[in-house]
């Protein structure tokens, strides 16, 4: 294996594009090194992108936030403006692994790992976040949900690197929340998860909503029917019940070592309901 730590995005892209063997991007390494340790991956080239300018930046602008590809979880939590605007996004990212892992893990890495159980991703999708991709043919920007394709697979082409995540500007009276179910309090992979992003009108009625579920299908899924259940409501019991039912209906989970179909389906609705309540309160609803 070769290790390269280029100082420009361009040379990183070139290294990856030219490599004939197995090449991987290294940012936090908290997935890549685990796979290498277990012998599941034997890369020929690892490109460490952390020496590239700007990859550790969190930039706030008129259009929202731009988060560099190598920003670790802990740094997201330290950015007060980001936490205020996108508490659900940050709490999702901050649930990845331990404090030790937080010192390294990135949202982009979490996304590129392609797991339907990724904690960092549902809230990004609920937020309508986008990724900026650099590749041999230049830059392109796509919605986050178009990155994962199937468990462990993503839509990026050879030589492409996600350089940043873009979070849109927040309208007034809006907020988000992310909840996951794990059997312990920490250190587990989500058995099922839910992210809810809400915008209210001045009177506390839900104007816009986006509901996303994790670990209940081959990829993280957006559930429009669940969002519809909330829009126009003040999160009354009937709306929440409809939300939970819509979530349960959207689940296509599997039985595995982490949970059962029955469990995931039931708990998806519970988490979506609880996340909606948190997001609603954060958005100023009462």
């Amino acid at each position: 294996m070769r290790y390269e730590a280029p100082e420009t995005l361009k040379s990183a892209v070139t290294l990856l594009a030219k490599e004939k063997g197995l090449a991987f991007v290294l940012a936090g390494g908290t997935d890549l090194l685990v796979k290498m340790k277990g012998g599941f991956l034997e890369p020929d080239l690892v490109v460490d992108i952390k020496r590239i300018k700007g990859v550790f930046d969190i930039a706030k602008s008129a259009t929202g936030f731009r988060i560099g590809a190598a920003v670790p979880g802990v740094q997201l939590g330290e950015n007060a403006a980001l936490v205020k605007a996108w508490p659900g996004v940050v709490e999702g990212a901050n649930l990845i692994g331990s404090k030790q892992v937080q010192g390294r893990c990135t949202m982009v890495g979490n996304l590129c790992n392609g797991s339907p159980a990724a904690d960092g991703v549902p809230a990004l999708i609920a937020a309508n976040a986008k990724v900026v991709i650099s590749g041999p043919k230049g830059k392109r920007t796509i919605p986050v949900e178009q990155v994962p394709v199937s468990p462990g697979r993503i839509s990026l082409k050879k030589g492409e690197i996600i350089e940043a995540i873009l979070l849109p500007k927040r309208p007034a009276n809006s907020s988000d929340a992310y909840l996951r179910f794990i059997p312990r309090t920490e250190m587990d992979i989500a058995v099922v998860s839910a992210a809810v992003n809400l915008t209210l009108d001045g009177k506390g009625t839900v104007k816009d909503a986006r509901v996303v579920l994790g670990a209940v299908a081959p990829t993280i899924i957006v559930v429009p029917a669940a969002a519809k259940a909330l829009i126009g409501s003040k999160l009354d019991a009937a709306a929440l019940e409809k939300l939970a039912a819509a979530c349960a209906a959207a689940c296509k989970p599997i039985d595995d070592k982490r949970g059962t179909i029955e469990f995931r389906t039931k708990v998806a609705g519970v988490l979506a309901r609880r996340a909606a309540e948190i997001a609603y309160k954060r958005a100023g609803g009462k």
């Binding site: 294996m1 070769r2 290790y3 730590a5 290294l26 936090g28 390494g29 908290t30 090194l33 685990v34 290498m36 340790k37 277990g38 890369p43 690892v46 460490d48 952390k50 670790p72 802990v74 692994g97 331990s98 404090k99 030790q100 892992v101 010192g103 390294r104 309090t185 920490e186 250190m187």
Partner: protein, 158 residues
Amino acid sequence: MSGVHVSTTINGDAVEFVCNADEPLLDVLRNRLGMTGAKEGCGTGDCGACSVTINGRLVCSCLVLGAEVNGAKVGTIEGMAKGDQLHPLQKNFISHAALQCGICTPGFLIAAKALLDKNPDPSEEEIRFGLAGNLCRCTGYDKIVRAVQATAKEMRGA
């Protein structure tokens, strides 16, 4: 496999080493530099026994490549005591019987120090979540949490 040449700082000392490109920092510390205080309990970031700091951030050294620490500042358990003076956490771990077998202790100390550096007055809950990345199988964590509480109090008073 050609080696990667790395210049780094460990516990304030300039250190140079050559490692394999795919070699975790933990293996470099233990096998090349003779610093066996960081332990491998899992090699996958699930137990925290290999905890070190890199540029002040708490990490699992099993999830960092040796090659990555070129130019960085690494902190390990070997650098926690200053001369013959143990860090208050080290003293309190002994006096509170916060270790039984002791294999997780270096990792806990590094993590606890990182926690207190950031939050000098943590609640019990903050301590427990702050140390959730470090597994201990002997103590049930009771005396570890108490030792950290006692240290926080002592260091705030000092």
